[in-house]
Each structure stands twice: as C-alpha cells, then as structure tokens.
C-alpha cells in the first residue's frame, strides 16, 4: 500500500510535470515550425501550452518542496540554537499547515465551479487548470508535517538538533541556502 502511494506521489509530482513540460515545449516548437515552415498557424497548441505550463509549475512546486528547493531566508535560522531553530521552524510550518488547510476546500470548490468555462480551441474544462492547486496545497501540508514532528522531538529533548538545522549549519553557506534557478 505504501509503495503504491509513493508511486502515485511520484506520478503526480515528478512524471506528470515532466510530461507537461515536454508537451508544452513540443507544442511551442510545433507552433513556430508550422507557422513559418508550413505557413499554417496553429491555434490549438496555445491551449496545450498554458495547460502544460500550469501543471508544470504547480506540480513541480510540490517536487521542489520535496527536494527542499524553495527559496528561503536562512541567515537568521542558522544563527539560532537548536531549540530556538526548532521552535521557529515549527511555528512557520504550523502557520503554513493551518492556512493551506483553510484554502483547500475553497480551492476545490472554485476549481469545480470553473468547470463551466472551457479553453478556446480544445474545449478543455478550466477545472483542469485550477484543480492541481488543491493537490499542491495538500502536498505542501503533507511535506510540512514531518518537520513538525522532528521539531517537537527537539523541543522535548528527544533529539539534539533537527537534520535540517544541522545540515544548514555544517554546509553554511552553500548552495542549499537558497536554491534558485531564475537568475
């Protein structure tokens, strides 16, 4: 059962965004080639491009969370003692869990409500554009629970320091301080 769930998670967070990116990329190339080589502009590719982009970003962001790749400001966190660092991260994660939990139901409702609208050419329901956001919220909640348990253990004295804080201190200030590709 656990293996099946992990496989499903991999499908949603790794394989689907990879396929979405490839579809988006191929649609772009096809669009340009068709317009300038065959003098035949395509319109349906636009639908695939925007849908592929939305899925790549939102589901890719879940994978980024798994890989601890989101941009963070770690300078203060690194200077904290293990217990203060655990308390800080715990508060932050609890805040994320609570707010994201609040967002989940309205997001699903909104995605379903958008079902009456469709993309211009392929007539794909916009529910498919908005629904991955609900998965994103649930996934982030899921990834935030494990660090919370670890931080509670640190605060109770069952662990000397969290893995994350220890790693940040040891590798200070290496690549994982802020992973960012966009610059």
């Amino acid at each position: 059962m656990k293996k099946l769930l992990l496989f499903l998670r991999n499908c949603l967070e790794v394989y689907v965004p990879i396929i979405s990116f490839c579809v988006m990329f191929s649609a772009f190339v096809l669009q340009v080639i068709s317009r300038y080589v065959f003098n035949h502009p395509l319109t349906w590719t636009n639908d695939l491009i925007v849908l592929g982009f939305c899925w790549t970003v939102i589901l890719g962001a879940c994978y980024t969370m798994r890989e601890h790749g989101h941009v963070q400001f770690t300078m203060l966190y690194e200077s904290y003692s293990p217990r203060v660092a655990a308390a800080a991260r715990l508060i932050g994660n609890v805040l994320i869990i609570c707010t994201f939990a609040l967002l989940t139901v309205p997001s699903v409702r909104f995605a379903l409500f958008q079902g009456f609208q469709r993309t211009a050419v392929l007539r794909i329901s916009l529910t498919w554009v908005f629904l991955p956001f609900a998965y994103f919220l649930l996934s982030i909640i899921g990834y935030s629970i494990k660090p919370c348990i670890e931080d509670i253990k640190v605060l109770c004295g069952k662990l000397p320091d969290s893995e994350d804080h220890l790693k940040n201190k040891v590798t200070l200030p290496k690549l994982n301080v802020t992973k960012e590709a966009g610059k």
Binding site: V50, V57, I58, G92, E180
Partner: protein, 429 residues
C-alpha cells in the same frame, strides 16, 4: 492601516525570522489577510492560477531555465571556454579575461547567473587554480562575470520585469546589451590591472590553425544567441517562442554536434528543470496575490506619495531606489526584491517620467549586483562551494569587482541613453 494589512505585514516579517519558504509564506500571509478582512478564500487560487493561465510572457521562464540546464549538462561550457581561451591568447592574466569573455558568450545562451557560475564557473576556477591564480580572485571574478548573464539577453529577470511593468521584452533585451558589454569591459580592465600587479601568468599561444579548430567546434554553441536574438528582432518569433527554439537548438547541439546528452541525461535535465521551475514560478504566482493586497490597500500609492514627499526629482529617486535595492540585495534574495518591492516602485518611476525600460535595466542590474554582495551573495556561496575556497577570501576579493559593477550601475542610472539608444535605434520604443 487596516487590521488585515497589519496581520499580513506581521506574517510577512515572520517569513524571514521563521525560515519559511518565501513563496509559501506569501501565500500564508495572503490567506491571513483574506480571513481577517472577511474575503472569499478562493481569491488565492483564482489569482495565482490566472497569473499562470493568462500571462503568456512568463512561460519563457521555464524555457530559458531548460536551455540553461541543457547547456550545462553538455559540453557546451567546455567549447565556450576553449574558444574564449583562443581569443585571449598570450595576454597577461589570460584566464581571468577568458573568464569574463566566456561569461559574456554564455550569457547570450542562458540568461541565468546561477547557471553561469555553477556550470562554466567550475571549469574556469579549476583552470585558474592550475595556473597559480589566487583562489579568492578566481572565485570573485567568476561571481562578478556571472552577473552579466541576466543582463545580456536572454534574461529571466527581464522577462519577469516585463510581466510586472507591461513593457516590451524585446526592448528590455536590447536595452541590456550595452550595459552587459560595458560591465564585461570594466571587469576586463580590472583583471588586466590585477594580473599586472600580481604577475599572473600569460595564456598559451594558440596558432591560427588551432584557433580555427576551436572556433569550428564552438560554432554550433555560439550560434545560439544569434538564432535567439535574430528570431526575436526579425519578428519571426515572440520572446516566449524564442525560449522554446533556443531550448530545441541547445538540445540538438548537445545531442547531434557534441554527443553529450543521452535519454538518461535528458530525463535528468527535464527533472531538474521541473524542480527549478517549481521554485521560481510559484514565487511569481504567490507575489500576484500579495500585489492584489498591495493594490487593494493602496499601499503603492501611499509609498509613492511618501517617496514623492521626500523627492520629486527623478535622479534623486533613482539614487534612493539604488540604495534601497543595494541594501536589500545584501540580505534578501533577488526574486523576493523583484516580485515584492519592485512593483511598488514602478508606479512612482512612471509618475516621475522615468522610462520603464531604463528603470527595468537599472533595477535588474542592481539586483544582480546583490548576487555578489556579502553577507548574502548567492554567487559568492556558489563559487566558494564549487571550489572549496573559504568564503572569507572570496568576500575579500569581491570588493574591487563590486566597485566596478557599481561604477557601471552609476553610468546606466544617470546616462539613460546607454540603455535606451539601442532599443530606440531598432524602433522598439
């Protein structure tokens, strides 16, 4: 100030104290605002997803990230480095000059400073170490030259700025050319002076036949920026489509010309791209909901009025903006500065009659300087990390290249024509 806005600001500050992922923290802050002010929570999904669904121009971001990752996984960096080496020949401190020239060439392919420092930087620092250059100097010049990446087209930050300011990506790209070349020349002058002073070795003499061989081998890679820029400026492709074509071309070059990428490597490249896109683009989405709050609370107008009460002189305003971004860049990541602070400044710049293409280049250049400013200079961390050089020696050596960058920043700030004459000449403005 409304209670909702106060709560948002508190959560926003907490992001930095609690080490929350910034994009997720912004979404949390926005949710708190909506809860306190009694708004419908579905506004978050609506704003975030509509940004991705309706903003065609930002689709260029994942495509340029993909191109950068393909370039770094193949032998392209190696070819560019050898070609630049051939150009510099017997010059004193040749490898320092190669470092700058190779970055300028590479910047025409990727538009990412991180990709430049992490990919090309590794080869450069290793070669410089073997020839007896100081490690600190090698890392510092690698970090400084990587800054050229997002200024010379294509550029990921300029694409994001175009989205924020509704300006032309083509004009911004063209406006970045002269500042990037100016920065490269300034850094080369700095390398020349240091090489003479420290007696750094001369490069190896390259006979014409060998140089031609380097040129021929590097030619497929060197054609990337040519194809990209010609595609955009002849109107054949939009900048977004150009991102896809550049990615395709990089892929073809790596597979067919250099035989450097197989299926396994390609899968890895796309996987890394997806992870990088997730990190970068979700920040853009999260920033739009913050922008919604800023607009609703008329924060930009308040800040604008406050700034205008201090000064209504556009040069003083530019000085103020430069100082603020420089200070922020020392501590905060550039994407946060660009997505949270720059949108507040754009209306003021517009009100003062500053050309938004010029303003975009000034703030982008300044933010990229921030990638090399201690204590939180991402490029310093990368070059120190990949070379195993103590951060302290990199920080010591970065001082002069930083001054060189600031000199160029002053020039492009107070001489707008340096930025604007090319887009104007090309009829893009």
């Amino acid at each position: 100030m409304s209670v909702g806005l106060l709560v948002t600001l508190i959560v926003f500050v907490l992001i930095f104290f609690l080490r929350m992922p910034i994009a997720l923290g912004m979404l949390s802050a926005a949710t708190c605002y909506l809860v306190v002010s009694g708004h419908d929570l579905s506004l978050v999904v609506n704003q975030v997803m509509n940004t991705f669904y309706t903003n065609y121009v930002i689709i260029a971001v994942p495509l340029f990230i993909f191109t950068a990752n393909v370039m770094n996984s193949g032998k392209v960096t190696d070819m560019v480095f050898k070609f630049a080496g051939g150009l510099c020949g017997r010059m004193r401190g040749s490898l320092g000059q190669v470092n700058v020239i190779a970055s300028l060439i590479f910047s025409g392919m990727t538009g990412s400073a991180i990709a430049d420092a992490a990919g090309l930087g590794k080869i450069e620092i290793q070669a410089m170490r073997e020839q007896g250059y100081d490690d600190g100097f090698s890392c510092a010049i690698t970090a400084a030259s990587a800054t050229i990446g997002p200024i010379f087209p294509p550029s990921i930050p300029l694409v994001i700025y175009a989205m924020l300011s509704s300006t032309s990506v083509g004009a911004l790209f063209m406006g970045g050319m002269v500042p990037a070349i100016l920065l490269a020349l300034t850094l080369m002058l700095y390398v020349f002076i240091v090489a003479k002073k420290r007696n750094y070795p001369r490069g190896e003499a390259v006979v014409v036949r060998e140089f031609l061989k380097f040129c021929l081998r590097a030619l497929p890679a060197l054609l990337t920026p040519v194809i990209l820029l010609l595609g955009i400026y002849t109107g054949v492709m939009t900048p977004t489509e150009a991102g896809a074509i550049a990615g395709l071309y990089a892929l073809l070059v790596s597979v067919l010309a250099y035989h450097a990428i197989g299926w396994k490597e390609l899968f890895q490249v796309v996987k890394t791209t997806v992870r990088d896109v997730g990190a970068t683009s979700i920040m853009i989405g999260a920033a739009t909901i913050i922008s919604y709050i800023v607009a609703r609370e008329q924060l930009a107008a308040h800040v604008g009025n406050w700034i205008l009460s201090i000064t209504s002189n556009k040069y003083q305003f530019l000085l103020l903006v430069n100082l603020v971004i420089l200070v922020l860049g020392m501590f905060i990541d550039t994407s946060t500065i660009q997505l949270v602070f720059v949108p507040i400044m754009i209306p003021v710049a517009r009100a003062l009659g500053i050309d938004l293409i010029h303003f975009g280049l000034v703030v982008t250049f300044n933010m990229m300087v921030g990638l090399s400013t201690p204590p939180f200079g991402m490029l310093l961390f990368i070059t120190s990390g990949i070379s195993g050089t103590p951060l302290k020696s990199v920080m010591k050596e970065i001082l002069w290249p930083l001054l060189a960058m600031l000199l160029v920043l002053v020039i492009i700030t107070y001489f707008p024509q340096v930025v604007l004459f090319l887009p104007k000449a090309a009829g893009l403005m």
